[in-house]
Symmetry: C2
Subunit: 401 residues, 2 copies
Amino acid sequence: MSKPKGFEKPIGFRDYLPNAVSKLRKIENDVLSCMNQWGYSQIMTPTLEYYDTVGVASSTSDQKLYKLLNNRGQALVLRSEMTAPVARVVSSLLKAEPLPLRLSYHANVFRAIEEEAGREAEFYQTGVELVGDDSPEADAEVVALAIASLQAAGVQTFKIAMGHVGFLNGLFEEVAPGMQEVQEDLKSHLLDRDYVAFRDALGRLDLTESQKEEMDGLLRLRGGKEICGQALGLSRHPLAQASVEHLCKVWEVLEAYGVSRHVLIDLTMVGDFTYYTGMTFEGYAADLGFPVCSGGRYDNLLQQFGRSVPSTGFSLKTNRILDGVRGVENKQELPVLVQYDAQRRREGLEESARLRSEGHVVITKLVSNPAELTAANSGAETGGKRYKDIYTFVSFVKERS
Amino acid sequence: MSKPKGFEKPIGFRDYLPNAVSKLRKIENDVLSCMNQWGYSQIMTPTLEYYDTVGVASSTSDQKLYKLLNNRGQALVLRSEMTAPVARVVSSLLKAEPLPLRLSYHANVFRAIEEEAGREAEFYQTGVELVGDDSPEADAEVVALAIASLQAAGVQTFKIAMGHVGFLNGLFEEVAPGMQEVQEDLKSHLLDRDYVAFRDALGRLDLTESQKEEMDGLLRLRGGKEICGQALGLSRHPLAQASVEHLCKVWEVLEAYGVSRHVLIDLTMVGDFTYYTGMTFEGYAADLGFPVCSGGRYDNLLQQFGRSVPSTGFSLKTNRILDGVRGVENKQELPVLVQYDAQRRREGLEESARLRSEGHVVITKLVSNPAELTAANSGAETGGKRYKDIYTFVSFVKERS
């Protein structure tokens, strides 16, 4: 194995140059400010957590976790998402706080990746958790806030696909009773959106004709409010029925928020984390082939940390928004140049301080002869002005530019 | 070794609750905005870097680096400071950019710690690098910006102690010519501020009486401009002489900035990184026993990444400012509560949207009977108002509060 070259960084990691930082910061600030206006307070947690606690609870597959040992020999992980760390905080430092709790975060998370082109090993998530409320109202609030957050991030056109894990659990229990492995298989095909494999797996089951038709119907269950009625007819399993009823109440609240036009019920939605127990959703932007946000209800996660309370939340995939969305621009102001010689240095620096106090960006430069002076039109030949303005404080004879 | 409890986080790591996040964010934003006004553009680099490149260049002792292997078997480290990563970026992505380059950052860095009380394994630094300028003007600019940054961070009273590694190198070469180990030893005693050990080490050298007196005088070399003259008399070594002359020119520029009252020349200053080659400085706040910022010139670091240019910079120890400085407060606005029943939900949510668009923080709550209503004086008994205002949209009879 050859040594990395001096200038290399590990595969899957990236540097952000000023223009990208400026855009990322704008998204971060605008989204956090939106979340704040909905009553969500930001918390921060460590980059490293215990493998045995947050690592396991995060339900990121083991080979995708970055692991290391501390000097006590304990296994640590670089956090792979933020829901489990927030659950840990809610169960410890915030144990005595009255519910519901509304918390937000903006954090980098890590996934050990295979060397696939374009996969990122470190990326940013901006999200919220609403802890201690199991009502459809709470699920609708996080969906509505996800919509507001995408808009705050500059994503203009998008759809939220919303489903319910309980519906699939009930339905699959009905067609493959007690067959956990088969059920997991079916769900994983849906998660991968591999409908051919899904139909193949169904084909190997001993289903009646009408059951087969129903399962086929499942794949067409996408749309608005009308899906609720159709879904209720699809499975008589009590869990499936209760799940659809919950989802329809969420829809009703989303209508009251005036945002249901952004939402699509999709009962094939599984959600990308195994800790989801109820409603799950994903947001798709018009021009992008992958989700820009995802979320859902996780009523059993917090009990792993010793506080049993229902919760729901989502996170924006901030990097995808940064890379994929046009129009996010945080125009950097052109600087003012203040150039001076040693004799008039104090004057030049005083003027710089004054200009900064007025809000200008100021770069200073010591010059010792006329040849070192920056002319007003400098940079024009390369297609752009480099300075908004140039102030010159010199005692030698200044050439006309 | 026992398993960690569910709610535990690794030793040396911390959670930041909303109040702390709000303060930290305020410091971060105010300082970055100050740096921006001085023409410094923010960049971001990965949390993980190659051990063989940035890990080694960072000059953090090996046992203080968090190390792990990626799935190619390459050794990675969690960054321990930001100067080496920025040097890597300057030597790669920014290779073609004209000098001088002015870059800033705000980042978490990591040090594997022994289990000492109060030591942090992950903490924040906010800093700048001025790349490609070896003049006293450049060193003075970063010292003056450090002063402006501390003020922006809310640190009212502080002193910057400024020294020069070259002066000590010259002086020690004079008293212990060619004895590298002895010289390193002397410097490490000064870094630890262990003057007893310093005098002991000198005592073991074969010095003349006048040399002994001179070395003793070194420890008293602290003050303003007058130190320059005294220091020039202390060592005839050319490196020592050139270093003192450079430092005196820096002082002159700091006078022109109008900030020399914050600065103290201290020729016993070593600087906490071995890559420093010139001027070094540390900032001490009035009430704190440890530095709140540190910086210096590192003219040989960038050549390790393939671009040989002189550089100077500093970083604020942002966590110490957060924890130690009174008066930094980012008052969280009290939220408005909008409570509604199912019948009047749409009205309630529309009002919430309106209030948010006016800049208010709004929490919404579904209520189903009068007992669930929050009264206006709620929370008053526990010493504080919880809501700035309460709006109620219910169709059932509302009790008077």
